[in-house]
Symmetry: C2
Subunit: 246 residues, 2 copies
């Protein structure tokens, strides 16, 4: 977004309910709390964590919303079966950034390939025109050389595939892709940019994008699927082979 400032913002005191929720989640992940177990009462948790009950309530409310715990008035709150979770969120709990980004790109590959295939079938002419225009921008940026306006170029590429996803007319695809993308942008942007600077641009990369574009134009479902997959597999592999990020 803005230029990278001289100082990173200091770690402002995180909000208490998030801390509590994370703490409880960690206890679940580490099998200290198992499905079916009863959580301590809110009053007791309040004492244990040393915060007010309202904070505990907000924390548990978050977990309930995701289906991680289930509470019954007059009884208590219980750890839910892990299959009942109603939300998918990319937890920043994974400390191995490297592993995380590789797995995330693997997921993105599968999802985006499906979205592109669907888009090849469902796209309207208007959507196709937009996608073509963004591709033109991408090709133009590629000619000017990689040293300049790197961020904007990466954003253009992201936009390219976001538009394709939208053309699939499937909200779930949009949501999943959007979430993965936003996570890559925020948490892993620096690593992403570093990688992009060295290997993400060039005629062969552009050719991969072009293959996707051509398939979409021809409404070639399988072609779009394969081309998209190859493009992201390539990206994932180039990133995985690097030893020097984050």
């Amino acid at each position: 977004m803005s230029t990278t400032g001289l100082f990173d913002r200091i770690d402002r005191p995180r909000r208490l309910p998030d801390e509590v929720a994370s703490s409880i989640l960690a206890s679940i992940e580490s099998k200290q709390l198992n499905p079916g177990d009863k959580l301590p009462s809110e009053n007791e948790l309040s004492k244990q964590f040393g915060v007010a009950r309202t904070v505990i309530r907000e924390a548990i409310s978050l977990l309930k919303f995701d289906g991680v715990v289930d509470s019954r008035r007059g009884v208590g709150a219980f750890i839910a079966q892990s299959e009942h979770r109603s939300a998918f969120r990319i937890s920043p709990a994974c400390f191995e950034i490297r592993k995380q980004i590789v797995q995330l790109l693997q997921l993105r590959t599968g999802v985006q390939a499906g979205a592109s295939a669907l888009a090849a079938e469902m796209r309207t002419s208007k959507q196709m025109a937009e996608i073509e225009s963004v591709y033109e921008r991408l090709a133009l940026a590629d000619k000017t050389g990689p040293a300049e306006a790197l961020e904007e170029r990466v954003d253009t590429e992201l936009l390219f595939y976001r538009l394709i996803t939208q053309a699939s007319s499937n909200r779930y695809y949009e949501d999943v892709v959007g979430m993965i993308e936003s996570n890559l942008q925020t948490n892993l942007r620096s690593a992403f940019l570093k990688n992009a600077a060295t290997s993400e641009f060039g005629p062969n990369i552009l050719a991969e994008h072009h293959a996707v574009l051509t398939a979409l134009q021809a409404k070639d479902v399988e072609g779009a699927r394969v081309a998209t997959r190859l493009r992201f597999e390539h990206s994932a592999r180039s990133l995985a082979s690097r030893k020097d990020f984050a």
Copy 2:
């Protein structure tokens, strides 16, 4: 899990914070509130909704957790850019059950195909043995005819692909597949079963599963990808062609 009871559970009085959160979300979906807009203050919302501020706080806390709104102390709460959402949840807000299930199956197809491909590469012998054993159960159930123990059969099939997903060694794939699956099980189980009763079983279906199994055994990445995709596309199409569910 358990057998389908005679009575569906009545709609228990939903909790207030969820109501409020849904209401605010609806305002966002309907473009009455747009990204960047400032929410009314908690005190004002408290008066408008006629509930205590703690309820409003919990509701906003949920939205913050999903990245839908962003609040700053001393300033207020604002609608976030839609790209910043940190969670993917299958919202029950889509009233067209038919459309919802089709789109969900489309997503599942893409995701599961990717997971299977990854599993073909990453699986251990032990995981392969488990998958084979579940397949045997599936084949056995198929011989006894479709009239009996339908639920268990469907669950076995779900387990088959859940194990495959686990074999991918990618937590994100597991999470996404698990969430889609749980949603299908809970919200759309009846429609699912009805479809399964008529068209989900038989030698050709089993052959599709078998193709997936064979590819996994041979560590054939592309074979696993294609076989899985065909199997789910088939399932989605047979469901979409039916006019009589839900």
